[in-house]
């Protein structure tokens, strides 16, 4: 708003200090903030934080990567994605399957440890076999979630199933996936999930140096995805996506197909969640149905809601803050954490839909409306 030309009568009384900032500085605001974030995450955090705290931060950053996708699909596209856990899980399981196979190969076995416990036969299931190849597994962590999202999204958006209907379907997908994983104990580890992962492409994960390396990879991926999402937000596609969110019919009348616009956002968000899941496995050392079912899937949304769903930085910071609060509170006071989580949903979504990112704007508007001077003038 500061760049628009003010009315002549009003500017006359204003001192020159309130002149809009120079466009030169404005151009460097976003890259500057980005560089500052990169410096904090990659430069300062590894120096000041202990190994333990750093690996916790790696976990939070994985949730932040999911939040980047949530911000795109939900914040900008209006698609309430309640099933991001599915894509997080697909990426996580794809990575964990490869790492388990690699671990088994190191000790000279053909089967991962849990299969020797529960398995009915000696042979590896056919759909496990390709995951022994690192290139296939890495590609699958991103492409598999994107393919599932594309399939569901294509059929759902094509028939203009939207709003709460879409939210419910995405949630049902999370429920079905978690139940399927639990049911296939011999092939997926069931409720336990895939645990006890030793190595990460030849690096031992119990070595603190390698844990730091994993952190750096997670942080770098987050920064790259944030930059990519930012470009997407300001692109023509980003504007189209917001237009679809705000008035789908109008976009259709303008000659665009909203189904395709939504599909792209959903698929990209799924790919990001898949990548986050894949990084979660080496960072935390486990992937299990309890991390990806209905409840954690909604949990992926709350961080973005608290920070500000439509603001990329807000969503990321919100996700990190919520994850940090959760791990700080939930061990010592599990009851308090659940109440707080519920309250966060009610307050953040119900009363501050723009999230904390909009707090300043909302307060400023409130103060302006309550200011007797301006009320009298109007």
């Amino acid at each position: 708003m500061t760049t628009t030309t003010p009315l002549a009568g009003k500017t006359a009384t204003k001192p020159p200090v309130t002149e809009p900032p120079a466009p030169f500085l404005e151009r460097f605001r976003v890259p500057g903030a980005f560089l500052l974030g990169a410096l904090l995450l990659l430069g300062i955090a590894p120096l000041v934080l202990s190994d333990f705290r750093l690996s916790l931060l790696a976990k939070y950053l994985c949730y932040a990567i999911v939040a980047v996708g949530v911000s795109l699909a939900w914040g900008r596209g209006g698609l309430l994605v309640l099933g991001q856990g599915v894509f997080f899980g697909l990426g996580g399981y794809a990575m964990a399957m490869h790492l388990k196979l690699a671990d088994a190969a190191v000790t000279g076995q053909t089967l991962p440890d849990f299969m020797q416990l529960y398995g009915t036969g000696d042979a590896l299931p056919w759909w496990w076999k390709p995951f022994a190849d690192p290139v296939f597994a890495l590609a699958a962590t991103v492409l598999l979630p994107m393919a599932v999202a594309a399939l569901l999204g294509f059929f759902v958006f094509r028939r203009r199933v939207k709003g709460a209907y879409f939210a419910i379907l995405s949630q049902a997908l999370a429920a079905a996936f978690a139940i399927w994983l639990v049911g296939q104990q011999a092939n997926t580890g069931g409720t336990n999930g895939l645990t006890d992962i030793q190595g990460f492409f030849g690096y031992a994960l119990d070595d603190p140096v390698n844990q730091r390396m994993v952190y750096v990879v997670v942080a770098a991926v987050l920064l790259v995805l944030m930059a990519a999402a930012r470009q997407l937000f300001v692109s023509r596609y980003g504007e189209l996506l917001v237009a679809v969110r705000d008035s789908e019919e109008r976009v259709r009348f303008l000659g665009y197909d909203p189904a395709n616009v939504k599909l792209v956002a959903y698929v990209v968000a799924a790919g990001m969640a898949g990548l986050a899941g894949a990084l979660f496995v080496p960072a935390v050392g486990i992937i299990s149905p309890a991390l990806i079912g209905v409840v954690p899937s909604i949990g992926f949304v709350i961080g973005a809601a608290v920070g500000g769903r439509a603001s990329l930085l807000g969503a990321v910071l919100g996700a990190i803050a919520v994850a940090w609060t959760q791990s700080t509170l939930s061990d010592a006071y599990p009851a308090a954490w659940t109440y707080l989580q519920g309250l966060l949903f009610v307050v953040a979504v119900g009363f501050l839909p723009g999230g904390l990112a909009s707090l300043v704007t909302v307060l400023r508007r409130k103060r302006r409306t309550h200011n007797p001077a301006t009320e009298g003038a109007a």
């Binding site: 209006g78 309430l80 569901l152 059929f155 759902v156 094509r158 028939r159 203009r160 199933v161 709003g163 709460a164 209907y165 939210a167 419910i168 379907l169 949630q171 049902a172 997908l173 429920a175 079905a176 996936f177 139940i179 399927w180 994983l181 639990v182 049911g183 296939q184 019919e249 209905v294 409840v295 909604i298 949304v301 709350i302 809601a305 009851a335 659940t338 109440y339 989580q341 519920g342 309250l343 966060l344 949903f345 009610v346 979504v349 119900g350 839909p353």
Partner: protein, 294 residues
Amino acid sequence: MTVVLNQSFTGISIGAVLLLIALGLTLTFGQMGVINMAHGEFIMAGAYTTYVLQQSVSGAGVSLLVALPLAFLVAGAMGALLEWLLIRRLYTRPLDTLLVTWGVSLMLQQLARDVFGAPNVQTTAPDLLTGHITVGGVTLAGNRLFILGLALLCVLALTLILRLTPLGRRIRAVVQNRDLAEVSGIATGRVDRTTFFIGSGLAGVAGVALTLVGPIGPTMGTNYIVDAFLVVVVGGIAQLKGSVITAFALGVLQSVLEYSTTVSVAKVVVLVAIVVFLQWRPQGLYTLRTRSLA
């Protein structure tokens, strides 16, 4: 043949449970376009009402009969309170309401955990319902028959209310065209609250029924809620019969698939079937025919 009939009866009884839960949802979702995630916790409230009542009333049969209206009132009051406190402020933002009510459901679950403890509790079923009767080789469990009867009774009562009473006429008017109803002099706010009371109360009744077939615990609502939502999505919101048909269809499909494959595969196949079905009827089985684009 007997196997088929037995599985069909299992499916129908699963469907009856789904129906009891989905009835209230159809009402509240149809009314305000609001998906109430706390619906599952109203089920839980109904179940705990039965449990508390059984601690004080000795006879299982008497306490069950008293529990039905009491659970309706308890859950209904909770629903009306929720509507008054939160939902009515948000009804222009239905997707946000979904998340807000999810927050409420988390808090209610924790409240149940703090009050009644985290482990599941049990109630004793009346002797009349613990037995079973056999008709032509098909075993019909008493508790399942009771739930089926209760579900059908609720459908009947709700249909009568919606068709014949002035309240029902007002509810239908608001569902069909909120703005037109409002300018015609219907106090839509009051109708909303009444609808929420009835819809949530039905969840309480469902909770009483569920005590007959499973344990009572803080997370019991979440186990059923996703399936109940799917019933509403497939059935459509315009008419109750959409939910009735869908609930029984999904119940039978689920039990037949569970019999021929496994529980986990059945869930996935049911979901795929639903997505395929929505290709044909994207707004559900029964929809309101309007000229609006949305």
